[in-house]
Amino acid sequence: MKLTRREFAAGIAAGLAAPTVVTSARAQSATIKIGMCAPVTGPAAESGGYAIKGAKLALEAVNKAGGILGKQAELIIEDDQTTNPGIVLAFSKLAAQTDIVAFLGSIRSTQVHAISPDVMKLGKPVMIGGTDPTLTHMGNQWLFRFRPNDSYSGRVIADYGVNVLGKKKWAVLHSTDAFGTAGGKALSSALEKLGAPSVLDQGYANQSQDFTPVVLAIKQSGADILGSYFTFENDLGIFARQLRQLGVNIPWVGSPSIVNITALKLAGPALYGTYGVADYAEESSEGSKAFGKAYRELAKVAPDNQSSWPYDAVTVLAAGINKAGTTDPVKVREAILSIKKFPGAEGEYNFDQNGDGLHGYNIVRNEKGTIVFDKHIEFND
């Protein structure tokens, strides 16, 4: 390397000066603006791209059908960098634009937690995909959820295992991050209500290299069914293999990660015959099929929940504002909460007073590596 200190310093200076070009020329046009925080960068950049495509697909449909309040709708996207500080910055940047009427938040619960205080302060509707049940139960009236929350996934897993598979001795396994903890809690309490309290409730830290102690604990507990919340596919893969190696073959109903493509690739045969809950399942309804077809044409990849919830969020938001006849936040809120039996890609939306739009999950099955829709379980409360 023949770089002198001086050259290096000059390089840094040039590098710093270059990007100070002003980026946004705010177009002052007669559009209705919707802000969206999405992971354009960072670890979830790939799924962030899916989310944006889903939202744009819905936006196109809305605009084709006459737009919002007679105006064309526009999406203002801000990068949340897949981090909590990142989304706080992104959201504050969007919130500073007073002509934005509503927002799309994040699919990650911790990120929604992070912006929640700012959302309260701002007082405008924010559509979210994070599934931590507490998000809509902590007094923040401006969050509207477009995926069934984890209390439902827990209830669906419990209901399916107890009532359909007829198993009562449960082992519950969950990661100790926000997602896993909330999910595990929901599943355990659902099991208790069904009169089948878990015989083992085990947490594990993400990126564990070995699950032998966990598998042996499951074996020893005498459980006859396993319910799980895994965050990362490689953990799921290692666990699945060790589970089978050590001779545990009890039925297994898992959170959505158990049926995602990466997990299927990593774990292979170890996951055959398992069940999973999925908020988006392509064959579950007409709305899901229609979205799947449109999305495949646009994105050239299979549709998933990353893209389906923003799609629904934009569609429902547009319907809500149109119903309210104004962009006044309070009126929009009331309009969204009054939406019932609205068919979306994820399922049928029936908003409750907390802002939860969906109240059920699909159960899917791993048939030798292909995912098959089994049934939809819906709750009315």
């Binding site: 830290a205 564990s208 990466t262």
Partner: protein
């Protein structure tokens, strides 16, 4: 009892992985007095090289050889780009530079290959054997065998070959070594190559169990690091024993104390060692010469 045996096997298996990576740490530390924070990324890069080769349709053994050759090259680049320019500075800049290198390596692979974990097949068709109540994973058996073989090889290499002796001399006293006509910079280069290959070997061996992911190296490296301190910094046998001990402690700790805090045991043991026996199991405390 069955439970204990099963845990013991797994503990030794995962411990052998730590030991392999720890070996790489120790060699570089002895030669340069520098802790290489990018050692874990060596393992990760090697596993990805292996995946690339296998996906190109090359035979497994050839992929293996190519991946290790790639690691040797990386060792050369690492030495020339990160260590060599800073060799006359204190340990602090070097540590920070290796941290930078670890960030660079991990994220370069991420940029090229994306965040999805990859699958690498194991050496053997059979995934494992049932021996009485204990299931022995064939890949873990292989790792344990390789670790034993490497211990023997290292002993032979450092004690009975001229090159090994030269390396030893260099790591003990650079000035003396150069007076004896040993090219110190060549010896350091060889050390980096050997250590990168060792790290790579660990990565390739462990990949079929842990899958190939960006983080695979850093998690193992931290533990391996703890193992080297427990074993006594700079001691080859200590690193092996430390690694094995850590694997076993961790596995039993998870089974009998707490699964979520599993990663904490390694660090608690480490801190305990630093406070009560900083020279490690084997090491001798060496005072700085005035």
């Amino acid at each position: 009892m069955d439970l204990v045996l099963q845990l013991l096997f797994t503990g030794i298996g995962i411990g052998a992985v730590y030991a392999l990576v720890a070996l790489g740490f120790v060699l570089i530390f002895r030669a340069t007095n520098v802790v290489n924070f990018a050692q874990g990324e060596f393992s990760m890069v090697a596993a990805y090289l292996m995946v690339v080769c296998v996906e190109m349709g090359l035979p497994y053994w050839l992929s293996f050889v190519l991946a290790l050759v790639g690691m040797a090259l990386l060792g050369v680049i690492f030495n020339l780009g990160v260590y060599y320019p800073l060799r006359h500075r204190t340990y602090l800049p070097v540590i920070i530079a290796t941290i930078g290198a670890s960030i660079l390596l991990a994220n370069s692979v991420l940029a090229i290959y994306g965040p999805q974990p990859q699958v690498l097949q194991g050496w053997f068709e059979t995934p494992g054997i049932q021996l009485g109540p204990v299931y022995l994973d064939s890949q873990y058996l292989l790792i344990i065998a390789v670790t034993i073989a490497l211990v023997i090889f290292n002993y032979w290499f450092f004690e009975h070959t001229m090159l090994g002796k030269k390396l030893q001399a260099t790591s003990q006293d650079k000035e003396m070594a150069s007076l004896l006509g040993i090219s110190v910079s060549t010896m350091i280069m060889i050390t980096f190559i050997y250590s990168a290959v060792l790290g790579g070997l660990a990565g390739i061996l462990v990949a079929p169990i842990l899958f190939v992911s960006i983080q695979m190296g850093s998690t193992i490296a931290l533990k391996a690091f703890a193992a080297t301190i427990i074993g006594g910094f700079g001691d080859v046998a200590g690193a092996i024993i430390g690694g094995l001990a850590l694997g076993v402690i961790e596995t039993f700790g998870a089974a009998y104390v707490s699964v979520p805090y599993k990663d904490g045991f390694a660090f608690l043991v480490l801190v305990a060692f630093l406070v009560f026996r900083p020279q490690g199991i084997f090491g001798e405390r060496v005072a700085e010469k005035a």
